[in-house]
Subunit: 665 residues, 2 copies
């Protein structure tokens, strides 16, 4: 059953527009973020990041590859890795959303110019790709494991879906994508090549393009690709087939596994297929995988993936903060999955997860100026991150340092397309009313499925303050419900309608029945800083606490430590002096906030007892393991007020060490 009823794919300018599901998304034309941190991120994205990406794509020749396809010499002169085309498509998607959010003549003409160059490289049969198939190049689809040909075309499809949904279904990009998708269906259909792509993305791309263009064939092809996974279709490799989710069929898998970006992209495509075909078994399977991944394979930041080697999920509970890979793109992918499950099922846990990943991973990646990025997002930096030359491509994708560009540069345009479409994740509607999922100053000008209008203004200083005021500019005539999310991290919350009674509410969904035009609904969430403790199965952070204020995970950064009198060298490099790794926190004193800064009460390990000096271990014996009966009780250190900083703000003040998880006294 494909697009059974009420096809609305092309009508809503939003990244995911299922034809059915518990909740209905609102487009960028219905929700506008008007202020606060997210509006600032969108502004930096629009005014700096898009041009930054375009500059590097040009400079590194990844855009030029499309020109070479026309002028010849691609085999000899092509630049970039096998997936470099996809970065161009992600930029186009980001530009499309940005144009949908706020038309801009200059941006429009830059967009058109890139599309022209891309379209010129398309081959007569619809195939699009600069790495394979031309004279002197390896033949098409001869390296499904690593070639990324379908992956690249999948990103083309997502870009075209964005374009079609922002009112330009007759666009050249849409036409190019349609021909490419037709080519993919003709090549990989039920009777064709039975392969899959080593990097999932074509599934979600086909499903979305199918929805946007009302083309069931694309969705059917997406379903084929999803189902082919898990049967050993691809070659066995050093990392095993689980790396590309080709060991267990998607509908039988119990948890997200393997390469974390691939896993999330595949799950997103599987949800799209499940929703459009009414495949409850498949939807249940992905929901179960999502739940176990959240419960056992996700960092406190919402980040995923603890293996550097294969950029993969570790086993359950393997979440070392200092070896966190937590790739930015994995969190972009996790937002894609969570949002799809939220639309399909409505569970508040999905919106909680989206807030967490957006706040603490996606927003952590770019520097404040939007022109350098973390690829990996460590939770513990033991040696100061180096200053990166802003004019050099970073060699190592896995480095925990912000760089302007990478040899593998998936993250910058992935952040850009997410920020440009951020307003789409704020609210949804259903037959009963409006659901507010994310809090930011916003204008919501929505239409209910009944056709009735709802207009809301959200006024808030969230997340600095937990008070969210929803002003009802225009209520529908009949009964309706405003549903608000009380985040799982909140200690308590209260809701009040107009001058009515204050009602205490717990984490979850709060239904506010029928506020009237001119009315105000006030949700007060306790966003005071709190200590967070890990499940005892997470070995790597046993005996530690994290500090969270509202949705923001905080961290201790060495630049702040230097200002506190914590003994000699407390702010120094971790190597021989004392730094963030020597701090222990007194959990008897809850964290507190003064003028927007959160403090903890903390001391320095071994300070004043003569230990820890020199190049040896802290017991001075040259061997860091001591018989328990030989250990003297540790003297209680002198305590100080130590400031923390939001994790997403760290590493914006020069080289520093940092830790999210703080050992307790």
């Amino acid at each position: 059953m494909l697009f059974p009823t009420g096809h609305r794919g092309a009508a809503t300018p939003a990244p995911v527009v299922p034809s059915t599901g518990r909740l209905t998304p609102l487009g960028l034309d219905q929700v506008r973020i008007t202020g606060g941190p997210w509006a600032r991120r969108q502004e930096v994205n629009a005014t700096a990041t898009l041009a930054h990406i375009e500059h590097w794509l040009e400079r590194e020749g990844w855009l030029g590859n499309f020109d070479l396809a026309v002028s010849g010499g691609l085999a000899e002169k092509r630049r970039g890795r096998e997936f470099s085309d996809s970065e161009v498509y992600k930029l186009l998607e980001a530009m499309a959303w940005e144009l949908g959010r706020r038309p801009d003549e200059d941006l429009q003409s830059r967009f058109d110019a890139i599309v022209l160059r891309v379209s010129a490289a398309q081959e007569p049969d619809g195939y699009l790709g600069t790495r394979f198939g031309r004279p002197g190049q390896q033949p098409r689809y001869t390296d499904l494991e690593w070639g990324h040909e379908l992956y690249c075309q999948g990103h083309l499809f997502q870009a075209a879906a964005a374009r079609a949904r922002t009112g330009r279904a007759d666009d050249l990009l849409v036409d190019v994508a349609r021909r490419s998708a037709d080519h993919v269906c003709a090549t990989f259909g039920a009777d064709g090549n039975q392969g899959i792509c080593g990097h999932s993305e074509v599934e979600v791309g086909l499903a979305e393009l199918g929805r946007a263009l009302g083309e069931p064939r694309y969705l059917a092809q997406a379903a084929l690709f999803v189902e082919r996974h898990g049967h050993g279709v691809l070659a066995d490799i050093e990392f095993g087939r689980s790396y590309y989710q080709d060991v267990v069929p998607v509908r039988q898998s119990e948890v997200l596994h393997g390469h974390a970006v691939r896993a999330n992209y595949l799950a997103a495509g599987a949800v799209d297929v499940a929703v459009e075909t009414g495949d409850t078994e498949l939807l249940d399977a992905v929901a179960g995988q999502w739940a176990r991944a959240q419960a056992r394979r996700t960092y406190v930041t919402g980040g995923q993936g603890s293996h550097h080697q294969d950029e993969a999920f570790g086993d359950d509970w393997v979440l070392p903060p200092d070896r966190a890979y937590s790739e930015t793109c994995a969190s972009v992918g996790s937002v894609m999955v969570s949002w799809r499950l939220l639309l399909a099922r409505g569970g508040v846990e999905y919106a909680d997860a989206i807030e967490r990943a957006l706040t603490n991973v996606v927003a952590t990646s770019p520097a404040h100026d939007g022109q350098s990025f973390f690829y990996a997002n460590t939770l513990h930096q033991r040696v100061p991150a180096e200053h990166v030359d802003t004019d050099v491509v970073s060699k190592r994708a896995e480095a925990s340092l912000r760089a302007p560009w990478f040899e593998v540069s998936c993250c910058p345009p992935n952040v850009a397309r997410t920020f440009a479409s951020l307003a789409a994740y704020v609210a949804t509607v259903d037959d009963g009313g409006v659901q507010l999922h994310q809090y930011a100053p916003a204008e919501i000008r929505a239409e209910l499925p009944s056709g009735e209008r709802v207009e809301l203004d959200v006024v808030t200083d969230y997340p600095a303050d937990g008070r969210v005021e929803v002003r009802v500019v225009a209520a529908p005539a009949g009964d309706w419900t405003l549903t608000l999310r009380v985040p799982a991290w909140s200690a308590s919350a209260r809701v009040r309608v107009d001058d009515g009674l204050v009602r205490e509410v717990g984490p979850g969904l709060v239904a506010v029945p029928g506020p009237r035009t001119g009315g105000v609904v006030v949700l007060d969430i306790d966003a005071a800083p709190r200590f967070v403790v890990p499940d005892p199965h997470i070995d790597a952070v046993r005996g530690c606490v994290a500090v969270q204020r509202g949705p923001e995970v905080l961290c201790l950064e060495s630049v702040d430590l230097a200002a506190v009198e914590l003994g000699a060298g407390a702010g120094a490099r971790g190597g021989t002096g004392r730094g963030v790794d020597d701090v222990v926190v007194d959990t008897a004193v809850p964290p507190w906030e003064v003028d927007g800064t959160v403090y903890v009460r903390a001391g320095v390990l071994g300070a004043g007892d003569g230990a820890g000096a020199g190049a040896g271990d802290s017991n001075g014996a040259g061997w860091p393991y001591t018989a328990a009966d030989d250990v003297a009780p540790r003297p209680r250190p002198e305590l100080h007020d130590v400031p923390l900083v939001a994790y997403h703000d760290w590493a914006n003040r020069g080289p520093a060490t940092m830790r999210v998880w703080l050992p307790t006294l």
Copy 2:
């Protein structure tokens, strides 16, 4: 100053024979291990492992590559990775030591046959290697970063040194190595190719061959290679030049870093060069690197390397047990370095480190039958290790499962050459007498530098029992001293000579002056099991203890857990039931031993309180991080006597989960 005085390189059948230094090694003809676990390891090595390795070298065609070099077709038909020649050389070295330990006609003829095939492949100018330089192959030395050409030849040199020292300086292998070394010197000399090898080994190989043959040119070439490191000689790569120790000159480096095997091999070669040239600065530098690596970058097992991706040391204190790489070969390399520093300086810490690495890493690698091996030695297995097909090459070198052979199969022959030469690490002599470093039943028939004979029999059940009896079969005529090592892990020790007074001694060196012929020196080391606690900087094991009995690190293995009534599913797979990851230890009760088995008092996390069930996290909320003020105090679990097993014995009883570090109650 090369081989300044008293060249004894060819006279002593031992792996390292410096011409100067604090202590003088004894050869395999002077020390024989007569019983106990090490004798059993040597027996299995001789009767099973050597033939096993030979079988796989033949089967995989790595031996056949040498034949192809003669018959032609190497470019098309060569098999194995670029370093496969080195495994043949390491087997030859192991065979040479074994033949030196105990002559055997069959082994001798197998050795000769392999040497013949190797020698036939040597080119007229001395170059030896099957991967480069022949028609259709890449030219020689065009890929110093990854080609391993000098690495392979370095292992040839070590094998030839073993052969020369075990009484066969006129051997064909020695001749082949000499011509290869001459070629290397001619090619990479002061005025030649200024390159180094991406994988260190040629340094130590040249130094040892130079010593064995009394050829200062080889040592001078080794010195050149050591000094060239650290100047960016090799290309920058994804892992950075620190991967192959090409960022900081060896004499300026503060700690072992980068690829852990490369780092140790280079350090070993640097010590050889420093000792032979009287370069105190270089020796101090390596000793400092060794000390900081031991203090901050070594697992409790003595294992080194916590990165899977680049098989490298992590930063200081990065020692996650579940992501321990702890490659077998890195510990073989660390024994090489420690032994060289012990000979040069005499410090007891080097012998402690050798005991630790041999007992808990090198001995852990092979299964009891000596025919399958761990490549990596994890300290925490969360999911049961799979049974490995004994007839299949293991694809993934990093797997924590014993396999008969690997695509990268450096570890099996590395273990074999170490075991075959084990007796050389037991004792040394100096002008004053004899030093006993490692304890095993042994016969020592040594000659002091003065020319006087000393004959000792060591009688002991070590490490099962801490009592070591040294029977003086023949004492030298004049004053002499027997020096015994009291291991750092011991709580206390007593020494008694004949029927004399018992003397309490602490960890370190104990000098026993002049025991007479017929006398007995008894050292009683307290080898009772003890809890060991980690330095608080090692984040990954905070709140945990390990248990050590004598030199042996113990672990909890799920097969033992199943027999204890620890609640439903305690022995089950880590995924959903309760297993080793749910056990918490009561440290108020010290570990104890009954009939050779060590027990701890322990309970099961969350047992009986309804938590931990299902696929979610243990707080049941689907998210494993909880606000501290929402956490209920954990009920004290019911306690049981839980048996542990020696870490080197684990995974010999079928698929199992395991952990070395145990969380405390």
